[in-house]
Amino acid sequence: MTACVEYSAAIQLYLDNELSGPSLEASLVHLRGCDACRVQLEAEKSLSALLHQSQPLYVAPDSLRTAIAATRHIIALAASGK
């Protein structure tokens, strides 16, 4: 279980696509043989999947969208000297 303390952090890195090369290889090898890490990986995946289902977290109101489009237009006009 000592090794799992090390790989517990690696699971997060793996899920976040922050591992590459030998680190990625070592983590994949470890995952194949460690039940505890696979359980943790599945739990982390479930959380991520749930969060991704509620994407985007909030939707900007139409009034804000309109206001920003107008602001962009005004600034563009001012910049072009019209």
Binding site: E42, L47, Q53, Q55, L57, V59, A60, A69, H73, I75
Partner: protein, 188 residues
């Protein structure tokens, strides 16, 4: 990446494709709809004005999120000397639900409940945890990009993210009522 600045220094170069993400980040930081709208609007104004100073190839998305965060921090500093802040008006989520056209009414109901539970759980986290969850899980920024936006070392991003996820899993497992959320209990 598609959010790199292509060297076009005009107001139109800052598209509205970042709007929902910036608004979500503003809400996660301020927990107040009116304040979030002001933050996003100010972000666009400043970004458009500063566009000429952004080098081609720069990470525009990260740049916009950094601007928003700096505006929020400046406002916080000013408010510390003023009246207490009003926050947490975030319950009117009905107007903010994204409806998936292929879903039936039961799926829509479950999805809506889950989205509300996710939002509520995220808003229960500390602001340091809320922002790393938003930037990683919803905006798909790398650890390096998050570190740049929140102005801290990559190692701090990693540890905050791990603790934020653990706390989020705990909060969501507590609110789970036989829904898919119960799967999160794996590592509790």
């Amino acid at each position: 990446m598609s959010w790199r600045n292509d060297g076009t220094n005009s107001a139109d170069a800052i598209g509205l494709e970042y709007l929902d993400g910036l608004y979500s980040y503003a809400l996660v930081l301020s927990r107040n709809h009116a304040e979030a709208e002001d933050l996003v609007q100010e972000t666009y104004v400043r970004a458009i004005q500063a566009m000429g100073r952004l080098r081609p190839g720069s990470n525009m998305k990260g740049w916009l999120f950094t601007i928003l965060r700096n505006i929020w921090l400046n406002q916080l500093r000013k408010l510390r000397n003023g009246p207490p802040m009003v926050e947490l008006d975030i319950d009117n989520g009905a107007a903010n639900n994204v409806i998936e056209p292929s879903m039936n009414s039961h799926d829509l109901y479950v999805s809506k409940i889950e989205t509300e539970q996710v939002r509520a759980a995220i808003q229960e986290l500390s602001v340091e945890f809320r922002e790393v969850i938003l930037l990683r899980e919803y905006e798909d920024l790398s650890y390096q990009e998050i570190a740049s936006v929140v102005d801290c070392p990559v190692g701090t991003v990693m540890s905050r993210l791990a603790r934020a996820r653990a706390k989020l899993r705990e909060l969501l497992s507590t609110t789970a009522n036989g829904s898919d959320l119960s799967e999160l209990k794996g590592t509790q």
